[in-house]
């Protein structure tokens, strides 16, 4: 009886893995539709639970107490983080979790290599190659994600960092990595060389994210998400475990799709995001903006703004990251409710890269209970601006910059924008005249139809609410 059970066990584990992989696929599919998304997430979580339980039944797993302790610690940290995180900090959270996934994959590969070295036999060629690939992807995901986290959190400057000989240094490091790898493949395993290639790949992750910043952050987060999947897959090759390979490949594919969507929304290719320094081009136009002093800016107060909004027939609200940072989404909804009471038609226009990760703004407005039908994608809303009385821009900048349409020299030229300048009037709520995240001057602010309403988003919108009530 007992021997029959142990004989069946490996097969049972593989079958459970197959079930878990299927649940992941069904879960991801359902995550793609609003009606079923929550169930999809639950289904994927059940798949994960099954996979972990099946793995614990593996005959080679004996160290139960420590492993369960690790699972408990990890679960507590994860649950608390998921509870506490602000919705505005979602990109950082995802960045951080990506990094942890990458770190786990690297540790698996390093641990397995150490075990193989300890056996004192020659390590098979395919094992060496998969370990090397795994540490490369895992380490880049780890340090790249942590740097992205630090940039989003404001721990380091969010703008792109460029320095002389950037590409040659990267190429040199890559050659060093390949040389070290070739040495490990061709000769005996060597702990020192192995640690050196680990160090190089960690450095590559930092150098990969360092020159990317500003408006390109959603692309980086998507790409690192894809990497974290590929890292898990690579660890699967190291251990020859199909469950890891499949789940990793699914995540890798989803990350690449989102990366493509983000690039399309900014009219940039992946290559230009990764290698073309956004900052370099910005500096070139920075010189020209010095002459902007003689341009006229129309500034209005909250009372005047409230009158424009209250007596309009249609208002389109364009929220940007500035609104999110100010935590003004709830006040904005209050304003929208008030306007609707007065018979004004209110819509929200959401740019695909509004916020700092794909779909970020939708989440923030959902948090504030903005009804789903009021949210409009860029393609839906752009033809409507001509019929709109007032476009209210709150803390958005680059995504409404007409230079993307007209100025071929602008670094954001060609990026699809929300065409608020076509509305009858535009009110822009902004702290001051500083340039946007991409570091580009915005000519929208100097147009005749544009009124600037200076101040913090939350305060100004709150003033608008009380002024509108008095109309």
């Amino acid at each position: 009886m007992n021997s029959g059970f142990t004989e069946f066990l490996p097969t049972g584990i593989e079958i459970t893995y197959l079930v878990a992989a299927s649940l992941f696929i069904v879960g991801l599919k359902q995550l793609g539709s609003p009606a079923t998304a929550r169930r999809g997430n639950l289904i994927a979580a059940i798949g994960m639970f099954l996979a972990v339980v099946a793995t614990l039944l593996n005959q080679s797993v004996l160290n139960y107490q420590m492993i369960l302790l690790g699972v408990v610690i990890g679960s507590l940290v994860g649950a608390i983080a998921a509870q506490r995180v602000e919705m505005t900090a979602m990109p950082q959270m995802v960045g951080l979790l990506n990094g942890l996934g990458g770190a786990a994959s690297t540790l698996i590969a390093v641990g397995e290599y150490w075990r193989l070295m300890g056996l004192g036999e020659t390590i098979p060629l395919d094992a060496t190659i998969t370990v090397i690939l795994s540490v490369l992807i895992g380490n880049i995901t780890l340090t790249g994600s942590f740097l992205a986290f630090a940039k989003l959190q404001g721990l380091v400057s969010g703008s792109p960092v460029t320095y002389p000989l950037q590409q040659p240094i990267n190429v040199l490091l890559l050659i060093g990595f390949l040389a070290g790898s070739a040495y490990l493949v061709a000769t005996a395993p060597d702990p020192t060389v192995f640690l050196v290639i680990n160090g190089i790949s960690l450095l590559l992750g930092v150098l990969f994210v360092l020159p990317i910043g500003g408006a390109d952050m959603p692309v980086v987060i998507s790409l690192l998400n894809s990497f974290s999947g590929l890292a898990a897959s690579a660890a699967g090759f190291v251990l020859m475990n199909n469950m890891l390979i499949i789940a990793g490949a699914l995540v890798g594919a989803s990350g690449i799709i989102l990366t493509q969507i983000m690039c399309k929304a900014m009219n940039r290719s992946i290559a230009s995001v990764l290698f073309g320094a956004f900052g370099g081009a910005t500096k070139a136009t920075g010189g020209a903006s010095g002459t902007q002093q003689d341009k006229i800016v129309r500034s209005i107060g909250a009372e005047e703004g409230a009158m424009m909004l209250g007596y309009a027939r249609s208002v389109v609200i364009v929220p940007g990251y500035g609104m999110a940072v100010a935590q003004a989404q709830h006040t904005v909804r209050e304003l929208a409710d008030q306007l609707e009471k007065m018979g004004v038609e209110v819509k929200y226009a959401i740019h695909p890269v509004a916020g700092r990760m794909p779909g970020h703004m939708n989440v923030l407005l959902a948090e504030a209970n903005v009804p789903y039908p009021q949210l409009h994608d860029m393609d839906d809303i752009n033809p409507e601006f001509e019929r709109t009385d007032v476009a209210l821009v709150i803390g958005a900048n680059d995504v409404v910059n007409p230079a993307a349409r007209s100025d071929a020299n602008s670094p954001i030229y060609g990026m699809p924008i929300l065409e608020v300048d076509k509305a009858q009037h535009t009110i822009v709520i902004k702290r001051g005249m500083s340039a946007g995240f991409a570091g580009v001057e915005n000519e929208l602010f100097y147009k005749d139809k544009t009124m600037m309403l200076f101040g913090g988003a939350k305060d100004v919108v709150a003033q608008l609410v009380s002024e509108v009530k008095q109309l």
Binding site: N63, V94, S105
Partner: protein, 97 residues
Amino acid sequence: MAAGLLTGLVVFVLASFVGFEVINKVPPTLHTPLMSGANAISGIAVIGAVLIAGAQEWNVTVILGLIAVVLATVNVVGGFLVTDRMLQMFKKKEVKA
């Protein structure tokens, strides 16, 4: 090339195609939850970590494996819970609308 590696490669390529097909055409509203959900799935590394941390005696591999167990579990649990928290907000609003 070892047979195992080849099989792994076949599985990887086919799973990638499945991933592309399944995730294509997702509305922008769901991009963030999809990403954090996928992120949680990438925490599948936890089972690899359990496998290498499973040996009875203490050595470098077991220690690295246990650290990996903790990190990957944070990724899994944090990822699924935060995704659910986000989707809950969408749900609430749907009922209202």
